[in-house]
């Protein structure tokens, strides 16, 4: 903000404006932000703020300016001013201990999650932390997980100092003690990768050694080699059967114990029969068996499952309110202010809250001006002022000055947190989705039909030629393995998962795709979901002349109040006028005098002493002499909204659940059209119950929200999608996370998810054709290893090509990206 004296003369005004104009081209050396009028320089390098300058100084002092060579303006992440005791709780050894990976009293290892990591300069800086402080012996960044592992000497530098150093250089770690947060970040399933490697090794070698068998008619290769190859094949198939394929047997067995036929049951049966028949043939010297087909099937099915089960390592889907709440808060005790772990808080504790801190439990204001931002908790868009003696609710964020409150409820018993006791949170959606999957339904029918055919074949051959029974039915069971069905599903899901994530929709697991395909009702939250962080401004009342607007502009420019800033933004760049007098009255407004003109900006009582303003929802009132106007700040709807709502309305029923008031109802009604159901002032439990009500009527509901107040609805819905402006920020527990920048692509993304069903059905038809060919051959008792060796890979390859090809084609049809967006590094 420009201070007053510099704009006191007309001549100066010109100079100031000039510096603004050229200032637009001056970028901060550290972070690349516009420097504006700020005059912070070192040599010829310009900085936008002291934070950036500080980082530059630290780096320069330690000879680390290589950071700037790698990337221009690398410090893109906004450096927030750090409150000196924000991380005081890390001095509490009990809390710090939980974060250590290893400590021997001095040498310590800690791993911290740093959401701000985005480019190779970040990596360079974080891996050279040892230059900033020699107590850090090693630091290594896992870029994919955004985790830095720091080795340091605790006696020379505490964990708190490490974290504060990180925060100073712009990489503030996200610290959470929530176990569920950590478990998910564990690496991919290494065991399955080993199994895949072993299966691949054995499959390749068995194929190689089966070639002589395929190519000869039996007489050409000498007998000794034939038996050598068969024995070697058998030896190589043992690790496949007993190690790589073990999960099919254990899963099938677990299913049978619960009296269900899951997809693994027919697979396990086919593998078992194949192995036993091959063993028999090799043992009696009557044939070479089907070991090549068996190991091939295992290899491809494992590959399919790995593709399908890929996870997003730096994203968390299972956070509840604990991850949003602070780890520790400052409690006022007779012995002074101490930092106390959240779970150790009790009723009657007196807690100090600073700007931007979160109320840990329902409490009564004891001292200070409470201005609580509940937008994440209730969806109300404006901060609420709470007087001393009144209650503030858990989850609200204090804005402004220091506040002292006394807790009246324990953390888990607060109004918001009690939502998690609702029985909607007891059900396991992951398991439910797995059970509802199309694959289980199909595998059941598949098994029944197959067993029926086997019986018929056995009966037929019993009358015609009993010696053919065993070869025929074993060949049937071998060739009709549902692996083609399984591959169709796993590869379609795997590719769609990849395509959706390239377009900003990250799913918790592949089964969410199927659920998304069944959706017929979309429920939106308003604040943060349909609206952006930015606001729309409007003014109603008496029209001001250009000169009067200049007066208002100049008066508002010198105030730091958010409403004044909004007013300046609304008026745009204007001429500044000379003010005779300017005064800001805390809690009321701004008064300015210029010549004969009086300007008042502020509350209705302050600006309008005549008292004839109505009590509508204006942010503030502006009076210039006797002209009066009201200034409104309304949350801005996402730009893409008018474009996509009619598209969604064609295919889905639409609802809105807003925790806010109904001031924007007319605008929303236009967006949602006649079919939309709009509900306002919804409590978190109301939202949950509304969704449950829709489901009782048979609707499949997707809830799109962003705040903690949507947690219940997200959990209750068939698919809960959280909208996040940064996927690494806090998001409540959900099934999918949508990048807010990609909101406009929502209709296409939903259509793509829906197309998975058609792709899978289509590939089922193809796999059934293969099965019919294979079965008709084996029912006649004519199946040979060569035919099996041709049928198996060709069906597999067709299915993999068709599923990936079709899903990519669909993505193109819905105008989505096929590859990951190129990130500017």
């Amino acid at each position: 903000m420009q201070s007053m004296p510099e704009i006191s003369t007309g001549k100066n005004t010109v100079i100031v404006r000039k510096s603004i104009d050229t200032g637009a081209h001056k970028l901060c050396y550290h972070c690349g932000a516009e420097c504006g009028n700020a005059n912070i320089t070192i040599g010829d390098k310009l900085f936008c703020c002291d934070g950036c300058k500080l980082v530059y100084e630290i780096l320069d002092k330690n000879g680390m300016c290589n950071y700037y060579e790698l990337q221009s303006h690398p410090g893109l992440s906004q450096i927030k001013p750090l409150r000196s005791d924000k991380y005081a709780y890390l001095d509490n050894e009990q809390i710090a201990e939980k974060l250590y990976k290893f400590t021997d009293g001095n040498n310590t290892i800690v791993t911290l999650y740093i959401p701000g990591v985005h480019c190779s300069s970040c990596m360079w800086l974080l891996e050279h932390m040892g230059k900033l402080n020699p107590a850090i012996t090693e630091s290594r960044l896992n870029f994919t997980k955004k985790e830095v592992t720091i080795h340091f000497r605790k006696q020379e530098m505490s964990l708190r100092q490490i974290v504060e150093l990180l925060a100073t250089i712009g990489y503030e770690p996200y610290i959470s003690l929530d176990e569920s947060d950590k478990k998910e970040k564990s690496s991919f399933d290494k065991k399955r990768i080993y199994k895949l490697g072993v299966a691949g090794f054995c499959f390749g070698n068995i194929m190689l050694m089966s070639f002589p068998e395929y190519l000869s008619s039996g007489n050409d290769i000498e007998h000794q080699y034939a038996s050598l190859f068969r024995v070697l094949n058998l030896a190589l198939s043992l690790p496949v059967f007993f190690y790589s394929a073990s999960e099919f047997f254990t899963n099938a067995w677990a299913g049978l114990k619960q009296k269900t036929l899951n997809i693994d049951a027919p697979i396990a049966l086919a593998l078992l029969i194949t192995f036993l028949r091959s063993l028999y043939e090799i043992g009696t010297g009557t044939g070479a068996g089907f070991l090549d087909s068996m190991s091939g099937i295992v290899f491809f099915m494992l590959a399919g499952r790995i593709v399908q089960d890929r996870t997003f390592q730096s994203i968390s889907f299972h956070r509840d309110y604990k991850a949003y709440f602070p780890i520790a808060v400052n409690v006022v005790t007779p012995a002074g202010v101490v930092s106390r772990h959240l779970q150790d808080l009790e009723e009657k504790d007196v807690v100090e809250l600073h700007n931007d801190e979160i109320v840990p439990a329902d409490a009564v204001v004891v001292d200070g001006r409470a201005k609580i931002d509940y937008s994440f908790v209730t969806g109300e868009s404006e901060p609420v002022t709470v007087e001393v003696g009144k209650t503030v609710y858990a989850g609200g964020r204090q804005t402004g000055e220091k506040l002292t409150v006394q807790l009246v409820k324990p953390v888990a018993g607060s109004y918001l947190t009690s939502l998690w006791n609702h029985n909607a949170f007891a059900k396991n959606k992951v398991e439910q989705n797995r059970k509802d999957s199309i694959i289980h339904l199909l595998s059941k029918y598949f098994t029944i039909v197959l067993l029926g055919l086997v019986t018929l074949t056995a009966i037929y051959w019993a009358f015609v030629d009993a010696s053919v029974i065993m070869p025929a039915i074993t060949a049937m069971l071998i060739i009709a393995c549902p692996c083609a069905l399984l591959l169709a599903v796993t590869f379609t899901h795997g590719n769609l998962l990849r395509l959706l994530s390239n377009n900003g929709l990250y799913l918790r697991d592949a089964f969410v795709i199927e659920q998304l395909g069944y959706i017929n009702h979309i429920v939106f939250d308003k604040t943060g979901t349909l609206t952006e962080d930015a606001s729309d401004y409007s003014m109603r009342g008496d029209a001001f002349s250009e000169r009067e607007k200049d007066l208002v502009y100049t008066a508002a420019l010198s105030s730091n109040h958010p409403y004044s800033k909004a007013l300046v933004a609304f008026l745009g760049k204007r001429e500044r006028v000379q003010l005779g007098e300017w005064k800001e009255f805390t809690g009321k407004g701004v008064k300015a005098i210029s010549g004969d003109d009086y300007i008042y900006i502020g509350s209705s009582r302050f600006a309008d002493n005549a008292g004839n303003t109505d009590t509508d929802h204006a942010a503030c009132y502006i009076r210039v002499n006797d002209k009066l106007s009201a200034f409104y700040i309304t949350p801005k709807f996402r730009q893409s909204l008018p474009g996509i709502m009619p598209q969604l309305g064609e295919n889905y029923k639409l609802s809105l659940l807003s925790g806010d008031n109904d001031r924007q109802k007319p605008a929303l009604e236009r967006l949602f059209g006649s079919g939309g159901n709009l509900l306002f002032r919804q409590q978190p439990v109301d939202k949950l119950n509304y969704i449950a009500g829709l489901q009782e009527k048979g609707d499949k509901v997707v809830m799109i929200g962003d705040g903690l107040n949507d947690s219940g609805a997200l959990q209750q819905s068939n698919v809960g999608i959280t909208l996040a402006s940064d996927v690494n920020n806090f998001t409540p527990s959900c099934d999918a996370i949508l990048d807010a920048k990609r909101f406009a692509w929502l209709p296409g993304l939903l259509k793509l998810a829906r197309s998975s069903r058609y792709i899978i059905n289509f590939t089922f038809v193809i796999s059934i054709v293969y099965n019919i060919i294979g079965l008709s051959i084996s029912m006649q008792g004519l199946m040979s290893p060569l035919i099996a060796a041709i049928l198996m890979p060709s069906s597999t390859i067709t299915i993999v090509l068709i599923t990936t090809g079709l899903s990519s084609l669909m993505a193109r049809r819905y105008k989505l990206h096929l590859d990951a967006p190129v990130t500017k590094t």
């Binding site: 290589n66 060579e69 990596m123 960044l141 090794f201 000498e222 080699y225």
Partner: protein
């Protein structure tokens, strides 16, 4: 033709070597951070030396 015995053994041995190389690379976390490794090698200074003896 008895050279075949040797060749078969040799081919399996080579394949087995690659299998163990694969398992070793997975076990030593080489696939944990594929983006990071690609960037790290482009930095001019040598990366901080891993000194596991201390711990």
């Amino acid at each position: 033709m008895s050279a075949l015995y040797l060749l078969v053994l040799a081919s399996i041995a080579v394949a087995a070597f690659f299998l163990f190389a694969f398992i070793w690379s997975v076990r030593s976390n080489q696939f944990e951070d594929q983006q990071g490794s690609a960037m790290r090698m482009l930095h001019d200074n040598e990366t901080p030396q891993t000194d596991n003896r201390k711990f």
